[in-house]
């Protein structure tokens, strides 16, 4: 009986990576996400997808950029639609959430 349960739990693990962490990441889907990249731009869109390498796809993305290198300066924005941000150029990643949720996210620091 125990053996069976062990087998069934391991098969469950291989069928879908339903680790706790991945489920929590899944909860972030469709939320507004703000991604900063190396050249100083920011992209705001709905979190659509992420892969193992950390490449992120945002839907209905808007690009924000400073009009001058030295902040503060007014920002320009532009609509881009569906975009893919390679993990190599990503410098920051923030999600729009309530204060309570933020506290739970803190657990991962």
């Amino acid at each position: 009986m125990e053996e069976e349960m062990e087998i069934s739990s391991s098969t469950q693990a291989t069928e879908s990576s339903s680790s706790d962490i991945v489920s929590r990441a899944r909860k972030l889907l469709f939320r507004r996400m703000l991604v900063g990249i190396k050249d100083g731009r920011f992209f705001l869109g709905s979190f659509h997808c992420i892969d193992k390498q950390g490449n992120i796809i945002l839907q209905d993305a808007v690009e924000y950029r400073n009009t001058h290198r030295s902040s503060p300066s007014p920002m320009e924005q532009r609509c881009l639609g569906l975009i893919l941000i390679p993990s190599s150029c990503r410098t920051s990643c923030h999600v729009d959430c309530s204060i309570e949720e933020q506290l739970s996210l803190l657990k991962f620091q």
Binding site: I21, D51, Y64, L82, S92, H94, Q109
Partner: protein, 722 residues
């Protein structure tokens, strides 16, 4: 740790989350989650579609991300950094040198744009053009920028109005670009003022100092008196070229071709100024400051020095989300060559006498297209031909049709012009004229498509004719004008349909759409179409002559008149010559296949029948001609043998006809030239045929090829020993 966790992105003040939410750093969570993922596994929602995700723009990929922060975050930052200083230099000589470089580079950008690239990447890569107010303190730069903007606007208007630029659709894209600067229409008056000033400066520097009157003592253009004359002249020819070019555009746009003569004068001035601009290169190169670009042939300015103030990335964000493909700006020399050709093509258009005959017009357009004019010239031609639904803006389509159908002028005001089919026919003619002004590839595709429309209108008019006038085909003199008009129109519509088919087939040669193994069927189809074309043209001529004769006073026909009647008109003989050539080429090709087993269709992918359908589908669909199909082709060519060919030499016939009909075209240099070429082809092919017949079957080393060395459509048969 806490501080790090609560860290908001620096932009959060300007990119706020909602009222009750904050930005929380998710990177650690995501990193941990990614570690737990298996290879190839994604975190995505139910609506995720991998195929759709492929269309996502990849950030930081230069081919997809037009917003990559390069050197400057914005146009203002670039200006602050001195990308486009005003004045260009505090030293007047340098300022003038740089100004000339800017003028030259703008010319090359303009030519590159005309050749099919976007305005934003070419002309408007010039920072000086992007903010008109900035240049107001520098008269020369300011006036030049104004005339450039006004010229670009005029050219875009012409091409947009012609609306046949779908294939060159980058051309008219000008979103967000300041094409209509304030007061740009007055650009010429400003330019004239600047030109006048520089002319005075030129006069002043040429006059010996003793003779210089105090009144004429004006400030020189720049500081080096040895170079004053050279720089004044270099500037003047460039300013004058722009002035005259702008005039050409405005004159040619005047309705009903009223400005064509004046345009020709300005074109001549443009060409002469271009010559002076070219000559100025020597002076400019020898006095250039700084380092020159490598390779004087590729240089983009006369001096060889790179122009200041150009950066295509400055306005890349104004364009679509994806960046345009990278382009290469033409060299300065090539740009001048482009404008020379453009002006030459525009001159041909301006010298056209606006003939009310459709026949003459069609020949003119076909001849004009042989020089492969570019988009701007073709757009001008189209707008000249079709304005307000009338030919040249003044001849209604009905009158054009009446004349084309060789009906007497008295019918020009006949009520039948209100008939719905006649009106539709007028529309088809307008459409055809517009199509004939487009580039070869677009033209051929569209001509193929309209064949069906022309067939349909023929059927409709014929049905209407039969319904009203019954089956009687007698065209009685003045009995029923409507019947006569419709009868003539029907014949002309058939002729015109075959003319379009002929052009469709011929353009295939120009576009190299036929492989050598397919020449047999192509020449065969051409032969069949030409025969019908000749038939209908001849019919149209005899029917109109016949009715004309009936109207004349009754008199005894002299033998001379009879002889004249039986003589075939030169236009028909011209077609007959081509028919013989086409027939000869068809049978020669067929005989080579049948007897020597050469030029077979080697493709394992489609059969000859399939290729036949692919090439002639549009013609077949429109039943052009009727009862012609692949089996008829096979029937005509399967028995082709050299023994029969040599007995009846079609090429010899073509040669003889060409010689005979020369006198009929003494006033037409273009047709005479073509006749000469056809004669050459006929002569060569006749000889080749004899050689093959005598030697061919015995000598396996003989190589026969079809080359277009004389005529673009009728091949010359070349026989070689391999």
């Amino acid at each position: 740790m806490d501080r790090h966790a609560l860290h908001q992105p620096s932009s959060s003040s300007s990119i706020p989350a909602t009222a009750n939410t904050v930005w929380a750093d998710a990177s650690s969570l995501l990193e941990a989650a990614c570690k737990d993922l298996r290879d190839g596994e994604l975190i995505h929602g139910e609506n995720f579609n991998l195929y759709a995700a492929m269309s996502a723009l990849e950030i930081m990929d230069p081919k997809m991300d037009s917003g990559i922060v390069n050197r400057y975050c914005s146009f203002d930052e670039a200006i602050e950094d001195g990308v486009a200083p005003v004045p260009i230099s505090s030293d007047k000589t340098t300022d003038v040198q740089c100004m000339i470089d800017i003028m030259d580079y703008l010319l090359t950008c303009e030519a590159t744009w005309h050749k099919g690239h976007s305005l934003a990447q070419t002309v408007f890569s010039c920072a000086y053009l992007l903010r008109p107010e900035r240049t107001s303190s520098h008269a020369l730069l300011h006036s030049y920028c104004k005339v450039i903007r006004a010229t670009c606007k005029a050219v875009i208007t012409v091409v947009s109005d012609a609306r046949t630029h779908e294939e060159e659709d980058l051309f008219t894209m000008a979103y967000g670009l300041p094409l209509s600067g304030d007061g740009d229409e007055k650009c010429l008056s400003l330019l004239n003022a600047v030109e006048e000033n520089i002319s005075r400066q030129l006069r002043a520097c040429k006059a010996p100092s003793s003779k210089r009157k105090p009144l004429e003592d004006i400030e020189p253009l720049q500081t080096n008196s040895d170079l004053e004359e050279g720089y004044c002249k270099a500037l003047l020819c460039r300013l004058r070229f722009r002035k005259h070019f702008f005039h050409v555009l405005t004159c040619m746009r005047r309705p009903q071709g009223r400005g064509l003569e004046l345009a020709r004068k300005h074109i001549a001035s443009c060409i002469s100024e271009l010559g002076i601009i070219l000559k100025s290169a020597e002076f400019l190169m020898s006095n250039a400051y700084g380092t020159c670009e490598d390779g004087t042939e590729d240089r983009t300015t006369a001096s060889g020095h790179q122009a200041i103030g150009f950066d295509a990335s400055l306005n890349s964000r104004i364009s679509a989300p994806t960046p345009p493909r990278s382009i290469k700006i033409l060299s300065w020399k090539k740009a001048i060559e482009y404008f020379e050709k453009l002006l030459h093509d525009l001159d041909i258009i301006c010298s056209y006498p606006l003939d009310p005959s459709l026949e003459v017009l069609l020949r003119f357009v076909a001849q004009f297209q042989k020089a492969q004019p570019d988009l701007v010239a073709r757009a001008h031609l189209q707008l000249l031909l079709v304005q307000d639904g009338k030919l040249y803006g003044r001849c209604p389509m009905f009158s054009l049709i009446i004349r084309a159908a060789r009906l007497p002028e008295v019918f020009l005001h006949h009520d039948i012009q209100k008939n719905e089919y006649v009106v539709q026919l007028g529309q088809l003619v307008i459409n055809m004229l517009k199509i004939l002004c487009t580039n070869a590839a677009w033209q051929r595709r569209k001509l193929g498509k309209i064949l069906q429309d022309w067939r349909v209108i023929y059927v409709q008019i014929e049905l209407a004719f039969r319904k009203e006038f019954g089956e009687g085909s007698s065209v009685s003199n003045g009995e029923n004008a409507s019947a006569r008009i419709l009868k003539h129109i029907l014949i002309w519509v058939e002729e015109q349909t075959y003319w379009i088919s002929h052009r469709f087939l011929v353009l295939g040669f120009e576009l190299e759409l036929y492989s050598p193994s397919e020449y047999c069927m192509v020449y065969w189809y051409l032969y069949v179409v030409l025969i019908r074309l000749a038939e209908k043209t001849h019919l149209k001529m005899t029917v109109s002559d016949g009715s004309a004769k009936q109207k004349g006073k009754k008199r005894k026909d002299s033998p001379k008149d009879l002889a004249r009647d039986t003589r075939i008109p030169p236009a028909i003989l011209f077609l007959q010559c081509q028919i013989c050539l086409a027939e000869g080429l068809t049978l020669l090709h067929a005989a080579l296949r049948n007897e020597l087993m050469v030029l077979q269709s080697p493709s394992p992918f489609n059969s000859e029948h399939e290729r036949f359908i692919q090439h002639f589908e549009l013609l077949q669909k429109a039943c052009i001609p009727d009862h012609i199909s692949y089996p008829s082709f096979k029937e005509s060519t399967s028995c082709a043998r050299f023994s029969t060919l040599v007995m009846y030499n079609y090429f010899k016939d073509a040669q003889n006809i060409a010689k005979e009909v020369r006198s009929g075209f003494s006033n037409d240099p273009d047709r005479l030239a073509e006749l000469r070429v056809l004669e050459q082809v006929a002569e060569h092919n006749s000889i080749a045929l004899n050689v093959i017949c005598q030697v061919g079957a015995l000598d396996p080393s003989l190589k026969v090829s079809f080359e277009f060395i004389h005529h673009p459509c009728f091949a010359t048969v070349v026989v070689k020993r391999s």
